[in-house]
């Protein structure tokens, strides 16, 4: 039986994992960097050890240091959270080698899914649909045209060595393919010294839908329904929800079966997510598998009523998943917003600094997962996420209203934040009609510019003057809030 768990992570996910551990009567060990000495997760843990300086390469990414703490504190299991070492084969291996239960999949499963080519092979074997594409690079124009006609336009010319959009061209019409191919090849040669070009079907304006699954050590796996994460900016998810109201029931059913059979085929254990692109005809294509708990797992927990961390720990204990697939049903609708210390109007520039004040929304159906509070610092060393705000309501439109109300009650002072941007997104007709796709935000840059609402000027100016003129008899100079923090400068690019 697992009696003590080391959490090899920081911030909100460490706090969240520890909460479930405490509910289960399991002791917790935090590992922290010097920059995190004052962080909430250190206080939340029963035991805590500093593992090095702020840069994660010298702390949260040091397998040896973390294993040493686990041995010293006699932690019998490690929860990796997300990011950092969670998808590092070597970490899972090191746990195994030291007789520590890794609350995640085997090194082999991590390695298979972490390699793009191997992951595609596994998916293909499991019968998971793939974006149609050529396996060999192409150079003959007639061959390219022939294959493009098979796939159907639009198609994508893609550099073998590609990355960052270089050497990529979308072709919408056969008459353009010759010149676009020359461009893509030229760019690929210049950028990567490798002019090999592949061809694949281009899925325009796809939705991002992912299946949460979990498998035990006894060959039993269930899909915990889907999440939709189509609201993305530059490939980073901003708003996630469950269920995906766009998806037809028969499509959802097939996607869940595909995801579970892929996982079982590779001997997967623990929680994982299979990500898909879904096109406008509800065709779905394998994107990748994430072999860990995801940031947005909370929306799944809200609609299924299942604590995913508890299940991970039970599986680590060798227990069987106590559900059959038919037991898994959705109740209502959940939405998650990621609250970041960043400036949407300035290219989402991170805005690190000290949180001077924080008022968190409360009420039925509101969940707030965070690792910070008033006085905490959003440091320059890690992801600038402040919190995840999750709401759960009877249906999607109620959930949207609940989220807007909750965001309206949420106040974070001292940092630039993305709450205004989130409200703008939630209010778009596209989101309300559930018509969003992964390119929506990038195609509508105006969304990042704050729309100004009419504010009660006298009230604001009066309160500010009241503060300056000494808020009553004896409160003056107590708050210490006039210290210069530099938050408004946004790094001098303001």
């Amino acid at each position: 039986m697992i009696k003590k768990i080391l959490i090899a992570n920081r911030g909100e996910i460490a706090v969240r994992v520890m909460r479930t551990c405490r509910e289960m009567g399991i002791k917790t060990v935090a590992v922290f960097s010097e920059a995190d000495r004052k962080s909430l997760f250190v206080r939340a843990a029963a035991e805590a050890c500093c593992i090095g300086p702020a840069p994660s390469t010298e702390s949260y990414l040091c397998i040896d240091k973390i294993i040493a703490v686990a041995k010293k504190t006699k932690a019998c299991a490690i929860h990796p959270g997300y990011g950092f070492l969670s998808e590092k084969e070597a970490f899972s291996q090191a746990c195994q080698d030291n007789g520590i239960v890794f609350l995640g999949p085997s090194p082999k499963a991590i390695a298979l899914m972490g390699d793009k080519v191997k992951a595609r092979e596994c998916a293909q074997k499991a019968g998971v649909p793939m974006v149609p594409g050529t396996i060999e690079p192409l150079s003959d124009l007639n061959e390219i045209k022939k294959r493009a006609r098979e796939f159907g336009y639009p198609v994508l010319l893609k550099a073998a060595a590609g990355g960052g959009g270089k050497g990529m061209r979308v072709v919408r019409d056969e008459q353009d393919i010759a010149s676009l191919f020359a461009q893509a090849r030229g760019e690929a040669e210049k950028s990567f010294g490798d002019g090999r070009i592949y061809l694949e079907k281009y899925v325009s304006n796809p939705r991002h839908v992912e299946i949460q699954l979990i498998c035990d050590q006894h060959g039993h796996g269930v899909a915990l329904l889907e999440r939709e994460c189509s609201m993305q900016r530059r490939h980073q998810k901003v708003i996630e929800e469950a269920p995906c109201v766009y998806l037809r029931d028969d499509v959802r059913e097939k996607m869940m079966q595909a995801a579970v059979s892929l996982a079982l085929n590779i001997g997967y254990t623990g929680a994982g997510t299979v990500e898909f692109l879904v096109d406008q005809n509800q065709n779905y294509y394998f994107l990748e598998m994430n072999t860990r708990l995801q940031v947005e797992h909370c929306v799944t927990e809200q609609i299924t009523g299942i604590d995913l961390v508890r299940l991970q720990i039970m599986i680590g204990n060798g227990e069987k998943i106590p559900y059959r697939q038919t037991d898994i049903t959705a109740r209502g609708h959940a939405i998650e917003c990621r609250i970041y210390a960043e400036d949407p109007a300035n290219g989402f520039m991170p805005s690190p600094g000290v949180i001077r004040g924080m008022t968190v929304p409360e009420g039925p159906g509101i969940r707030h997962d965070t690792g910070v509070g008033a006085g905490s610092e959003i440091s320059i060393y890690y992801d600038p996420m402040i919190a995840k705000l999750i709401v759960h309501a009877g249906d999607r439109s109620q959930a949207i209203e609940k989220m807007l109300t909750a965001l309206g009650d949420y106040r974070i002072l001292g940092l630039k934040n993305n709450m205004g941007f989130l409200k703008t997104l939630l209010n778009t007709q596209t989101f309300r009609d559930a018509q969003m796709h992964t390119q929506f935000i990038d195609q509508n840059p105006a969304l990042t510019q704050q729309t100004e609402t009419e504010l009660p000027l006298d009230v604001i100016l009066g309160a500010a003057a009241f503060k300056i003129m000494g808020e009553g008899a004896c409160i003056k100079n107590q708050s210490g809030s006039d210290k210069r923090s530099g938050w408004w400068q946004g790094g001098g690019c303001g």
Binding site: P55, R234, N346, G347, F348, M349, P350, P352, R356, G357, T359, A374, I380, Y381, D383, P384, T405, G408, D409, R411, L413, G414, N417, M419, G420, E452, T453, L455, P456, L457, D458, V459, I460, L461, G462, A463, A464, A465, F466, K467, I468, M469, E471, G472, I475, S479, S481, D482, K483, R484, S485, G486, W487, W488, Q489, G490, G491, G492, C493, G494
Partner: protein, 167 residues
């Protein structure tokens, strides 16, 4: 009574404020006076009643730069009292924009778009820094001339490192 100038939502606003009693303040703006009932309810938190309208106001300031939450909205504004106005000269808005462009986070310089001596206009891209898998373009905060470029392409930069200076 105190005299203030504010720069809020793109508007220049002048007003007078006068404390009347412990929890009341009189604001006179554009010749109209209104009395507000204000109570400090917590660190940086205020309850304001104007007539019968009740507002929850959260306020933070660093010098003249203020951040406010009210009515489900957030705003940033600049507020000067008489002394600050005299010090900086009347009508000066957000005038303390720094020409030093620093990266707020550690990262890697992936592109430098300007050279020393080059004229730049406000909003023009200067340097691109990659951090957390994201490319962030730093833009000119004002019109000017590039005085110094202190980084090279592919340099790793620490948080707070000044990369470009504009005059």
């Amino acid at each position: 009574m105190k005299y203030f100038k504010a720069d809020i939502q793109g508007r220049a606003v002048e007003f007078c404020a006068e404390r009347i009693g412990t929890g009341q303040i009189k604001i006179t703006r554009d010749g109209r006076a209104s009395v507000l009932d204000i109570a400090k309810t917590g660190e940086l938190r205020y309850s304001v009643i104007s007539g019968q309208q009740s507002y929850a106001v959260d306020l933070f300031n660093a010098g003249e730069n203020w951040q406010v939450f009210v009515d489900g909205s957030e705003a940033h504004f600049n507020l000067k009292d008489e002394r600050a106005i005299r010090r900086k000269g009347a009508g000066s808005g957000l005038d303390s924009v720094s020409g030093q462009i620093a990266s707020p986070m550690p990262g890697k310089v992936v592109d430098i778009k300007v050279k020393v001596g080059q004229k730049v206009t406000k909003g023009e891209g200067l340097v691109v820094v990659e951090a957390m898998k994201m490319q962030n373009e730093f833009k000119a905060p004002m019109d000017g001339v590039v005085k110094e470029v202190l980084v090279n392409k592919d340099d790793s930069v620490e948080g707070g490192r000044v990369m470009v200076v504009i005059e």
